[in-house]
Symmetry: D2
Subunit: 293 residues, 4 copies
């Protein structure tokens, strides 16, 4: 007895579907950059659009495509998560001829060796790649990072300074010359950059920019003196979430000076405020062209 092909039936309600997909497929993938090969554990989400006349997408093909690309990465490692995403998007369009668009997101953790105060450690950074495939218009690629660091509040610092000066008016000059207490906290910076054809930027560079945009980075191993120095660095560099976003944008303008005006860029900074139970955040979604104006 033949098994019927239910997906190919006419649906009772004939509407196009913007995206049909699967979320949460985990795979080990191999990437290679600058001669360094790594295994990344990737979390992969994929989708395509579905025309009004087709009841269901062929979802098992998503998993076959992901499986193939992962197997191929062992033989011939891809250059990064955004390239992996683009390859999956390309194959999705090939195996789903009724689709006009394919969407792929790949999330992973990149481990980098860090050093502060003479101690080194391997620390993990969230990275992600995204691809949007348009049947007749190529594949758009994006690479992103999420970096945890520290912000120290510039407003509370000036308020505390003025409170201390009120208590010790004769010490005004000295108090104006040193960092004084403020609230500081964990902050997560997200940067996502479009990678137009012929352009390239490394996730590690974006991680470096994200860390430089904060009041201070964080480290796993902090012995006493290096910990004190890190705290001082943060207090000599107090920043609002707004400042973090703007400083990252400024560095991105410089880093991506060869990228075209149409390049899409997103920067987000979110603070787990130590003095509040809610979080504060700032975000800019823009293009290089807008920023260059």
């Amino acid at each position: 007895m033949e098994i019927p092909d239910v997906q190919s039936l006419q649906p009772p309600a004939k509407f196009r579907i913007s995206r049909v997909g699967v979320r949460g497929v985990r795979k080990p993938v191999q990437v290679e950059r600058d001669g360094l090969s790594r295994i990344l554990i990737a979390n992969i989400d994929v989708a395509v659009d579905l025309p009004s006349f087709k009841k269901g997408a062929d979802m098992s093909r998503y998993l076959e495509v992901i499986g193939e690309v992962v197997e191929e990465s062992v033989e011939s490692p891809c250059r990064g998560v955004e390239h992996l995403a683009a390859t999956v998007a390309q194959k999705l369009l090939e195996t789903h001829p009724y689709a006009t668009r394919a969407y792929v997101d790949v999330h992973s953790t990149l481990f980098l060796r860090r050093e502060w105060g003479g101690k080194t450690s391997l620390e993990g950074y969230e990275i992600f790649g995204r691809a949007v495939g348009l049947r007749d218009d190529g594949i758009r690629k994006f690479v992103g990072v999420r970096v945890t660091g520290m912000t120290a509040c510039p407003c509370a610092m000036e308020t505390v300074r003025s409170l201390l000066i009120t208590r010790h008016p004769d010490m005004k000059d000295f108090l104006e010359s040193i960092p004084v207490p403020t609230h500081n906290q964990r902050n997560v910076v997200t940067i996502c950059v479009e990678i137009p054809e012929g352009c390239d930027v490394d996730a590690e560079r974006l991680i470096a920019i994200a860390e430089a945009s904060l009041s201070a980075p964080t480290f796993e191993i902090l012995k006493r003196r290096p910990e004190g120095e890190l705290v001082l660095l943060a207090h000599e560099n107090p920043k609002f979430v707004e400042d973090v976003v703007r400083d990252a944008l400024k560095m991105l303008l410089e880093e991506l000076r060869d990228f075209p005006d149409s390049t899409e860029i997103t920067v987000i900074s979110e603070s787990m405020e130590s003095i509040h139970r809610h979080n504060a955040y700032a975000e800019r979604i823009t293009t290089l062209g807008e920023l260059r104006r």
Copy 2:
């Protein structure tokens, strides 16, 4: 000693910020609809945009605005979470004269009395309201629901039917007349609808549509026979995530027949597939005008 106003300084890097906000403010709010007053526990996120020349948004005003609106809701309950969001957005524009936009999201749980098989229970549904305030162009409002129910896979059902017929060829006619096993699972349907000026739709109506779009609703209390009847209902009504989205769109077209073409609508169905570790989903983001074509 005067406390300096750090927020009003010129920022070193002069870029506009798309959104500066806070996330995760929780408050009890009073809503009243059709003469029925309820207390909802709301989770509120707010943001405004920030011009390039201002270092920081005045975030404490966000909390003052939220606090005021919540206090006022005790005296004069709002009509729903989307109206609460709109009121907050309006006040944000008033208290942040430098902002051109305000964004407000309110999430809560609505408890409704449900009945199945002679048993009733109070069950919670996620609802949300959203408002986007444009300084010179009024406030756009959205209301949404997230409803958990059940989907039974139509494709696996037909495959199982054909496998059973192969085993019992003489029972072909009977096997074609009854529901046979398939995989079924928890599915979450999200519906979000814009509420243009002069239009209105109740969150409870959207909940009813979301439940009707599934293979079957779920219930907390299921004694033996009602549980069997619910399982049969789901199997007599097998649906892909794509079917759920399309059937919800069809009912929304009917329900919102008086809404203008520009009305924005989103429908998402996500299945925690029982036969996979990944989730399957479908979504349509559109306007009533597109759907009516």
Copy 3:
């Protein structure tokens, strides 16, 4: 045709089950304390043990019991989440005659009016009640709170002080007299206390103790000067997670001086370290008797 009672069958593998239960039942419940009536949104988990000879627990009865207790709370509000949990546990033992134990957890949010620097706001605190019913030995009750506040690190403060003194040796005396920068962060304190028969403690008292054990509480609305004063309070009161736990234990010893030695107590402090990506925590699980020794 009769519907078979599958739960009552003999299981193929005859082992006792420690707990069979349901998780994540949400209900609005009414509590009343000191004449003040409130509606709380509760998340309820329940379980009983199952003897080796019974295939399945009668789970629909769990939901019937929860439903009944919730309905009764409207007529006659319970005194708190731990009393609600105890009532459910009692009824579970009655409706599951084969069980020797019943376990109930109730989680909710309590909103309290807070004041700092002349501004008041309603802020939410996590509270929980727990009951363990033993068929022949009564019901043990526990009440708990989870409170978010702020810790400032005493070690980094002394290191920073010594670094500043090295830079400004002539200011040694002054630098030893003022709070200097340190890392500070969001910290969550959990306190859980057994409530023996005839004893009573209010969740609000435990919230007050948890807040007093931190370097400083947090507030939603902080205008400039009150924010500076809160930051100074935290820096005049620097604490490790270990200090938070010990100071809470000390206050609990005083608060619960009339409670018997057998009273079980848990205190946990967890810091979202601003200088690390990992969290730091300390916990003590003990009895009043051990602490009194």
Copy 4:
């Protein structure tokens, strides 16, 4: 100027602390078993106890110990996550001479090649290792797995069968001979087993037992016929969460027949019920000795 050692001060409130630790340290580690070497991404939590007379634990040593063990794993891979945990626990006791206990948890994902219906794929399984080090009494080790599969409800199946027989009384015999619809859903089975000195069990064996205890496993790639066969397998093997726990216990008794009576064992099965919004679960915490009685 000397940096003071604040951790070694006498605390103001002199209570012992049960655990002081860090949570959420992520590292890539190398493990080797049966000649197969793998890189696992591990999430590591560690803690020690703290005597009443010491203000703070030396937390930076935790990170140094973890870093050392991770580096050593590159040269000489450990045999599994439980051995990694034991090595870290041993070193924590050495570097924290004031501690009497050390606690280590290591969580990771193990990728295994799976096959169903002629298709193979690499699928991830959660595994964990745990070690509790007692200064004068050696290190206790535990290994655990969390496996996602499928359960089909035996009670609803019999109810549906009886409803179908009522509709089709002349088909009673046939309906009693075939699997009929029931609700089925994603279920997560957790197994944790103590590994006494001289004993050994592989995480892959525990994964196989967990999968065999369910109604059916899940797979990523399911073409039409294999999907139907998997659905039939689940329906020919309907199970309550209680059945899953008992069947796993039975297989563990056989698998661990050479382990001593004192061996601690935990089995949990949790179902994301398709017909309810709440989850159902069963758990047994016991020893092999108790099970053998």
